[in-house]
Every structure is written in structure tokens, then in C-alpha cells.
Amino acid sequence: MAFAVFGPASGSPAGSTESAPRRRGTIALVLLLPGLAYLALFFLTPLISLLLTSLQAPVEFGDIGQYQTAFRVENYAKVIEDYWPHFLRAFGYAVAATVLALLIGYPLAYFIGVRLRRAPFLQALALTLVIAPFFISFLLRTLAWKQLMADDTPVVQFLKAVAILPPDGHLTGTAFSVIFGLTYNFIPFMTLPIYTTLERLDLRYLEAGSDLYASPATTFLRVTLPLSLPGIVSGTLLTFIPAAGDYINASSSFLGSASTTMIGNVIESNFIDLLNYPAAAALSVLLMGVILIVVGVYVRRSGTEDLV
């Protein structure tokens, strides 16, 4: 539509029918060129490089970290064999964190987007509070949680005193603390998209629901929830995808330990510590592929195809 401005608007319709679309096509291409160049340079090239690396073979009698171009598909079989538990753990943690973030984020978004609608100042304030954690680096925040959940803190002592935690128990380095950290870090990503859909929700639909014999709970399930589905889908995607590949929360210098290693940590250690570049690349490709499939199925099932 916008390109029509550049077309030969004043030309005779009969004469310009052939040249107009071609010229428009050229202009569209020129306008798209910077974006395409950017994608080619910073997305396609690394992706191809990653694929090539994942198929590399070690140089015979070479140093550690020396690889040559090859077509070693066994790399994939090897990493799956070695690291499938970490894959499962990563997806398990990510699903748990996504569900928890949804359970916390949805009521929060509902409260801000629907209940606070009549108080614009409070609404803006609440939104700022949701975003406020972003003002501090998430590394620092995660470290702060590590401090809070360390073994000799009042929190842990209290939990031990009321026998929720066994006397020799820990909070840090457990699946609990990793999922907790993931949930905490991604709550804003869950809350904001849901807030945007709920903020636009026409409350007259809810009145219509109650007028048509639906109890508040039924109205929520049949009207509010389906109408906020686009927000839920984008919120869960924004939480699940980065959470599945996260390597900060599960790292033992933060909230995790050796028993909570996720696939992100494995990729990191293969790349930085073990200098096993093909393994790291193969894992990255696999992670990307699995996330694409999971997300594709999820979006298809939730009936919001227009998001993809």
C-alpha cells in the first residue's frame, strides 16, 4: 500500500499496468535490502557457521580445541547420548518456571489491567513496579537471591526450624532454587503481554456473560480466558524459550549446582571449558530444533496461528 505512492499514479492505467508492479517490486526490494543484509550477516552466517562447526572433526594428533571441516553426523548422536538428561531437565525446569510464572503473572496482569483501570495513576505505578527489576542487572538480582537462600541465612534457618527443610537441607543448588530463579526472572515477560490483552478487554463482555447465566468463574473460563489467550501465548513463549536455554540460574555460581545442570550450562562448559566446539554447536542446533518443534506444536494447538 505504501509503495503505491511511488507508482506512476498519473500515468494512463492501460499503459502502466505492466511497468507499475515491476517498479514497485524494485522499490520494495531496495527498502528491504538493509534488513535482508542485516539478517544475512548476523543471523544466516552464524547459523551456517554453527551448522558447519557442529559437523567438524578433531584434527588428528592436534591440540585440544583444534578441529577441521568434516561431515561427522556422529557428533549429534554423541551429544544426545551424553546429554539427554540435561535436555530433559532443561525442558522440565522451563515448563515448571513457565507454569509458575503464568500462575503468578496472570492474576497480577488481571489486577493491573482490569481492576486498576479506574485508577490510572495506580495502574501506571503498578506497571512500573513490574518493570522495576529491569533497572538492575539480572545477574546481580540472581546473586542477591543466592545470598538470601544461602545456608546460614534467617530464611533457611526458619525453614529448618519449622521442619519444612530437613536439618541437613539446602536451598541453593537445588531444583527448587533454579526453578525459583527462572520464575522470578521471567515474571515480567509473562505479565506484560498478558497485561496488554487484558487492558484492552471490553468489560461489557463480562457483563454479557453474567447476564447470560454464567457465574463469575464460568465467565472467566469462557470469556476472559479465551479473549486473553493471545497474551498468554506470547507470554509463555517469551518465558519458555529463553528459560529452556538459560545457563545463569542453573549455574553453580548462581542458584544451581552440578545436579541442576541444564542444557545451556552444558553448551557453555563445552564451548568455554572443554573447548569441544562441535559438541557445543551440535547441542545448540538440537536445542534450537527442539524449541522450534515444541513452540510450533504449542502455537498450533492454542489456535493463535497468526502469532507465528
Partner: protein, 400 residues
């Protein structure tokens, strides 16, 4: 599930001493209203008169500050909206956008656990002649079609009481007329009580059996459309429902059946049973179409009131009739609707005329007469221009 059977028929609605206060203002003040079962009742009033609030109170979407709401003998004041035997056709339709037309219509039936919700929904859609669009989404329908879906969605539940909140407001004139007739025939067909809220007096008069004219949170007058039109009790009703010529003056004589009012020196007779007050300063009125124009002073006759002479200030021809505007010294502006029995307007602007009307057609109002004509006769464009020029000159003088 609250109920699993349809209401037997319409139920009557009783509002007793309803008051609704919002922070800062009172929307409804001590309202009493009874609507008999099976009637088509219209609440008519200007925007802000409390009519929509009344409807929302009946639907349960608002809680009254004081008073009781009784539907079919059952006090529902404290009953949640989803448990009331009431359905609403919302002004905005409020059709669920994520459901098909059929799902929308079947929504209420499913919530109540009715048997065969789809079949009943299809039947309701056939009633509004939209069954062929059952699988569409509301956004794919025109405004008029959405309105009919909203109607079907409410009617399909056979509520004891159907509430209509200006449902025809968004439609164009032709569709509006058509829907008015359809609504009326559906009401007759299904026999449920309709409570219709509107600011359109013509709509209220064509559709309703009974009209209640609301003003400032209270009911000014209630009655059949003809009754309200022919015998308004207050100046508000006289002017909101159609147009009226109102005159003020003292009662100078009174017989067993009539009173005589002195309007700027002219004796005007009004039947006693058509006047609200019989002594002192009164306001009387007559509808413009009841007036007859004369170019010569008509002979005085018993039972005929004559006012004049006056001067014609405006003539507007509207095909079926011609509307004349005259100024009668002392009596103010007088409007006359004359049928175009002759060819075009009978008199022109500036002509000296008299008006007469059958004394039986006048009415006396409850209001105190206005001390002076409420609005000065400022519809004369020449005078407006002159006044504007004077104001401008004054302003210029002040600046110098």
C-alpha cells in the same frame, strides 16, 4: 444450575423506592415503578435521566443504594445477575468475539444446562432470519445483523423479562424501522415482558404499550403513548414527547366543566378534566397540529379558542405538512403544523394570521407558568446579525 426450565411467560417487574447514588451524584431518586407481565414497556428520557441505570439495576449489573426489585413476585434485590430470570440486549450488543454466532446464541442455554442448546439456538436464529450465518464470527456481520444476533441471544433463553438498552441506536433509519416492527412482532409471539430503554420518542411511541417518561432520576408521567401525547401532565413531557405550544396566565373563570385562562388578554378555555390545576397562575398548552391558521380574524364561537393576531416568522415546507412559526404578542412563539391540503404553503413570512383550536384539544399542566417566555424570540437571523454587530462595536469601543 439455577433453573432448568424456561419461564412460563412474562413476569411483572416491581421497583419499590429505588435510589441509586454514585459518588458525586444521584442517578435515581426514590423510584417506584410497576410493569405488568407481558407488556412492552418503554422508559423514555434524555441522556442522563437515569433510564440506563434503572435497566442495569434490574439486570443486576448495579446495586441499588436503597429500595427493592421484585421480578414475578420474587425479591431479587440481592440476587447476583447470573441468577436473575432476566436477559439484556446491550446497546453495544457485546457479542463474544471469539465465538461463532451459534455459540453466542447457545451460550445462555448451555450455562443453564438446557437440552439441545444448538437446536434451540438455530430456532432463535431462524426467528431473526440469520440462521444461514450461524457459523460466522460476530465481526463478519453488519451492525443490523449483530443487533439481531444480540436479540436472538437474549430471546432464546425465554427470560421472564427482556431488557433492551437502546438496541436500535446504531442502526440507520430504514433498518431501525424494520427492527422496530420485528421486535414488536417477536414480543407478541413469545409473550415475554419487554423493558425498552430509549431516548427516541418516536421509537417508544410506535413500539410500547406503556411509556414512562423519565427526567432527573424520576418518572414524570406514565401511560399509553396516545394518552401521554394527548394529555401531558408536565411541561417536560409536553416538550419531550412531540412539540407543544405552552401559554401561561391566571384562571379568570371556572364552570363545572371548564376553566378560562387569560393569555395576554385573550380568553382561552380548557376542559377541567384535561387540566391538572384549576386555580391561580396556570400553564396550558396545545399541540401544533391541532391549530388552524386563519388569515382573517375568525368569528368567536363556543368551544373554539382563538389567538391572534400574530405574525408569521418562519415557514418550512416538509412535503406532507408545512410548519409555520408565528409570534403572537404577549403569548410568545406559536408553532403550527398544517397538512398540505392545498398546493404548498398558505401564507408567507410576515403575514398577519390568527390561530384557532377546538377547546377540547387544550391541556393544562402541573407546572407553574414561566414568568417570561423561556427563550427570547431570537431565531430571527437579522436580529442575530444586528446584535453581533452591536457587540462587536461595543468591544471595539472598549479597546479604544
Amino acid at each position: 444450575m439455577p433453573q432448568v426450565s424456561f419461564a412460563e411467560g412474562g413476569a411483572d417487574l416491581e421497583l419499590a423506592g429505588i435510589t441509586k447514588r454514585f459518588p458525586g451524584f444521584t442517578a435515581i431518586q426514590d423510584l417506584d415503578l410497576t410493569i405488568p407481565a407481558g407488556s412492552f414497556f418503554a422508559l423514555l428520557g434524555p441522556s442522563g435521566c437515569g433510564k440506563t441505570t434503572t435497566l442495569r439495576l434490574v439486570a443486576g449489573l448495579e446495586q441499588p443504594t436503597a429500595g427493592r426489585i421484585v421480578i414475578g413476585g420474587q425479591d431479587v434485590t440481592a440476587v447476583k445477575p447470573h441468577r436473575r430470570p432476566v436477559n439484556t440486549v446491550f446497546q453495544s450488543y457485546a457479542l463474544f468475539p471469539h465465538m461463532t454466532v451459534l455459540e453466542n446464541v447457545a451460550f445462555g442455554l448451555r450455562r443453564r444446562g438446557m437440552s439441545d442448546p444448538s437446536g434451540k439456538a438455530h430456532e432463535a436464529l431462524r426467528l431473526v432470519e440469520l440462521d444461514h450465518l450461524a457459523s460466522r464470527r460476530p465481526a463478519q456481520l453488519s451492525g443490523g445483523q449483530q443487533q439481531r444476533v444480540a436479540l436472538a441471544r437474549a430471546v432464546v433463553n425465554r427470560p421472564a423479562l427482556l431488557l433492551l438498552d437502546e438496541p436500535l441506536g446504531a442502526l440507520d433509519l430504514k433498518l431501525r424501522r424494520q427492527m422496530q416492527l420485528e421486535l414488536k412482532s417477536i414480543q407478541t409471539e413469545v409473550g415475554i415482558t419487554f423493558l425498552h430503554v430509549t431516548h427516541d420518542q418516536e421509537e417508544a411511541m410506535t413500539m410500547a404499550d406503556t411509556i414512562a417518561v423519565m427526567n432527573r432520576g424520576d418518572i414524570e408521567q406514565l401511560g399509553a403513548p396516545e394518552e401521554l401525547y394527548e394529555l401531558p401532565r408536565t411541561a417536560f413531557v409536553a416538550n419531550f414527547l412531540g412539540q407543544s405550544n405552552l401559554f401561561g396566565g391566571p384562571v379568570t373563570a371556572s364552570t363545572g366543566t371548564t376553566i378560562t385562562v387569560d393569555v395576554a388578554g385573550t380568553k382561552v378555555v380548557v376542559p377541567k378534566d384535561r387540566a391538572q390545576r384549576h386555580t391561580g397562575e396556570v400553564t396550558i398548552g396545545v399541540r401544533p397540529e391541532k391549530l388552524t391558521l386563519h388569515t382573517e380574524a375568525p368569528k368567536a364561537a363556543a368551544g373554539v379558542n382563538v389567538l391572534g393576531p400574530g405574525r408569521v416568522t418562519d415557514v418550512s415546507f416538509s412535503g406532507v405538512s408545512t410548519q409555520y412559526q408565528l409570534v403572537v404578542p404577549g403569548a410568545g412563539l406559536v408553532g403550527v403544523f398544517a397538512q398540505n391540503l392545498a398546493f404548498g404553503p398558505v401564507v408567507n413570512v410576515g403575514a398577519e394570521v390568527w390561530v384557532s383550536w377546538n377547546a377540547d384539544h387544550g391541556f393544562g399542566l402541573l407546572d407553574e407558568p414561566e414568568p417570561a417566555p423561556r427563550f427570547a424570540a431570537d431565531d430571527d437571523t437579522a436580529s442575530i446579525a444586528v446584535r453581533a454587530r452591536h457587540e462587536l462595536l461595543d468591544e471595539l469601543e472598549q479597546e479604544v
